[in-house]
């Protein structure tokens, strides 16, 4: 019969497209969602190779029966040829589509006997939800592409169209949102959309211990938060350029501050990608040379895990920085493994206690106990202990009480552009 697959009794390719067109037309009138689920059995080629096409056909027919039983009139079922099935499901949104896909994947996985062997088949699923005005063919193709992406993940998984990774400008597979961020990063590189803001870190007596350089990104008048752009920069490798750029900018800021008569240490965050590179030390010195600044005005902030990286390159890079006279700080202390046995071997002069301990002060007595103990430990190891994320006077008092050396947070100052920082420092100097 025309439009029907003889093995399964499902619609065939042409029947599927005809039905999809009809459903899209109905939908335009009703405004109901429509989902397309595209199934492909994993490793089916091996079934065909091992059991011949007759064996393969029996598997397909078996699975078709299960699909029909599970969807029971909820969906239009098609076989697109080979081991590919499509379910057109009207009045089905993204979440319902995922549920149905999972149910159908479960039914596929039930053991299946071919000859004297028991198979445990799995399937890769791509889902596309109809978008207003979309062509039915385009809708089916989106589901097919999503299924392909699911295969790319190793199969036995669901990918929703729009979420599947696509190659970005650097050829690295990214999800849609990441892709748009990657594009923004490139635009920011071309149009100078990156800036450093500086947040002062204050000692107990109110003097400035250092300022931390924090990256900001603005593209088309929109600010992208570091929480979003830094992971993408890490994934794409752009973090190396960003990190090196901030090394030079931070060093130049240190020079500007020195020339303005307020020499202040600038703390710069270093990423894993930078530190594992054999060229890190070169880049660091190149930045110092360009800025023409004494190394003791620069501090590098690294997370604890980076200090623990025992690879030769990382250790060499750390040693080279220390040898040059640059000080190191352990950033976000307390959130990683925080192995106390290692702490004694870390060549850092400063320990920055993570904000998670600070924001719950002063009420959380257990957090306070940790802060107190770490402060004591840090001091005994000869380190300066800094608390991050201090927002209230009560937190500040509690931190000073336990003997923290310096405090960073909105209570004292928000991160600010370099120009404002000089004014801020000079204002504080006024009697």
């Amino acid at each position: 019969m025309k439009g029907i697959d003889s093995l399964t009794g499902f619609l065939d390719r042409s029947g599927c497209l005809r039905t999809a067109t009809q459903l899209v037309r109905d939908l335009a009138a009703s405004g109901q969602p429509l989902a397309v689920l595209w199934f492909n059995l994993d490793r089916f080629k091996q079934v065909n190779e091992s059991f011949g096409h007759i064996g393969g056909d029996s598997v397909i027919a078996d699975i078709a029966i299960r699909f029909r039983a599970r969807t029971s009139g909820r969906a239009e079922l098609s076989r697109m040829g080979g081991d590919e099935f499509v379910c057109l499901v009207p009045e089905c949104d993204r979440i319902q589509a995922q549920q149905l896909a999972r149910e159908l994947m479960n039914t596929v996985e039930e053991p299946l006997t071919v000859g004297d062997l028991v198979l445990h088949p799995t399937a890769s699923v791509g889902i596309a939800i109809y978008e207003t005005g979309e062509d039915p063919l385009e809708l089916l193709e989106r589901a097919d592409r999503a299924m392909f992406a699911s295969k790319g993940k190793g199969g036995n998984s669901i990918v929703i169209s729009g979420d599947e990774p696509v190659p970005g400008r650097l050829g690295i597979l990214l999800a849609r949102e990441e892709l748009s961020i990657e594009n923004s990063l490139h635009t920011a590189f071309e149009t100078g959309g990156f800036h450093l803001h500086y947040q002062p870190i204050l000692r107990a007596d109110g003097s400035i211990e250092a300022v931390e350089a924090l990256m900001r990104c603005t593209v088309n008048n929109q600010t992208i938060s570091p929480g979003k752009f830094i992971p993408v920069a890490e994934k794409t490798g752009l973090i190396t350029r960003l990190g090196e750029w901030s090394l030079l900018q931070g060093a130049l800021q240190a020079r500007t501050l020195r020339d303005a008569g307020c020499p202040t240490k600038v703390a710069i965050n270093i990423s894993r990608a930078q530190l594992v590179s054999p060229k890190f030390s070169n880049a660091l010195h190149a930045a110092l040379l360009c800025a023409n600044i004494q190394p003791d005005l620069i501090e590098l902030e690294l997370t604890e895990s980076l200090f623990m990286d025992i690879s030769e390159t990382v250790q060499k890079n750390l040693k080279s920085a220390i040898k040059a006279g640059i000080s190191l700080a352990i950033d976000d202390f307390g959130t990683g493994y925080s192995c106390l046995a290692n702490l004694k071997d870390i060549p850092a002069r400063k320990l920055k206690l993570d904000r998670t301990f600070v924001t719950v002060l002063p009420d959380d007595s257990r957090a306070l106990a940790v802060v107190q103990a770490v402060t004591q430990l840090g001091r005994n190891l000869g380190m300066t202990v800094v608390a991050e994320g201090c927002e209230t006077q009560k937190q500040n008092d509690a931190l000073l009480n336990v003997g923290v050396d310096a405090i960073q947070g909105y209570l004292h100052a928000y991160p600010m552009p370099g120009e404002d920082l000089i004014a801020w420092i000079q204002e504080r100097k006024q009697p």
Partner: protein
């Protein structure tokens, strides 16, 4: 050797000489020149104000003359001749304008000394030959304006290091004549960094395109240039090869101080540019007038 130079070329008393040297060493490398920042500020807008930019550029006579000259240079790759700064901005677009202007202001941040003049003259010639090569070779993605810009920026780490290290010229001499080790590894036996990295950091800070920055960074690195796995984009590789070939043509035709770079990198560069050893003779002949031309 430095004594000889000070006896003949700089007759000032030693005290002033030292002061001069000190002040040179203190010369600041700007994070990003204001004019580039202004261009990017406009580029960030949905409707850039070309009139505003044109009047900013016109305020600097040597910059505007330099820009018109660059745009009209047959080696920068623009087909249309332009008469005004406004037209130049329109024809080039903001992105390419930025690159052209960066190349012009780069030279101005360094002090004028005979050695620097010779250095910039060689860079300008390499830039022009590179632009010409890119037009001639017609390789996908390889644009004359990029090749020209790399020619100018490729070695910009050298003047920075000359400023910071009084003996850097001696290091250059040794690196230039070393046939075994890479140029940058020779630098690193004496310095904590090398001119390729310094140049890359500077170019990054001036917001030059990623491919150009990577080309500056890796232009002496044969293993990275050869490796299929390294993440160096093909465009960066071809830019490096173009500039290297340009330098080779210049040295071959003008008998300028010869380096060991072509023996070390030449074969790889030719491969990247889809050229054979036999093609060189013709390139020498055709490239000679460009290599010899004065600006």
């Amino acid at each position: 050797m430095s004594e000889n130079i000070s006896m003949t070329a700089t007759p000032e008393p030693p005290a002033i000489d030292t002061l001069f040297e000190q002040s040179m060493r203190d010369i600041e490398i700007p994070p990003c020149p204001d004019i580039l920042n202004n261009i990017m500020e406009e580029a960030r807008k949905s409707e850039p104000d070309f009139n505003r930019l044109a009047s900013l550029i016109k305020a600097d006579v040597s910059l505007s003359a330099g820009l018109i000259k660059t745009v009209n240079s047959p080696y920068f790759g623009m087909r249309r001749r332009v008469g005004t700064i406004h037209d130049a901005l329109i024809v080039l677009g903001l992105d390419v304008s930025k690159r052209a202007i960066a190349g012009i202001v780069l030279r101005d941040i360094f002090p004028v000394t005979p050695a620097m003049e010779r250095f910039w003259d060689a860079s300008a010639r390499i830039a022009r030959i590179s632009g010409w090569l890119a037009q001639k070779l017609q390789l996908p993605g390889l644009l004359p304006e990029d090749a020209y810009t790399l020619g100018l920026f490729r070695d910009c780490g050298i003047p920075v290091l000359l400023l910071r290290f009084p003996d850097y010229d001696k290091v250059l001499g040794i690196a230039n004549s070393n046939a075994q080790h890479s140029f940058t590894s020779v630098e690193e036996t004496v310095l904590p960094t090398n001119h390729a990295m310094v140049g890359c950091i500077l170019a990054q800070s001036w917001w030059l395109p990623e491919e150009l920055c990577l080309a500056i960074r890796n232009h002496h690195d044969l293993p990275i240039l050869q490796s299929a796995e390294s993440r160096l984009p093909m465009l960066s590789r071809r830019l490096i090869a173009t500039a290297q070939l340009a330098e080779h043509i210049l040295q071959h035709e003008c008998a300028l101080s010869s380096t060991q770079e072509w023996p070390k990198l030449g074969a790889t560069c030719l491969r990247l540019l889809n050229l054979q050893e036999e093609d060189l003779e013709q390139l020498y002949a055709e490239g000679r007038p460009i290599a010899e031309a004065t600006e």
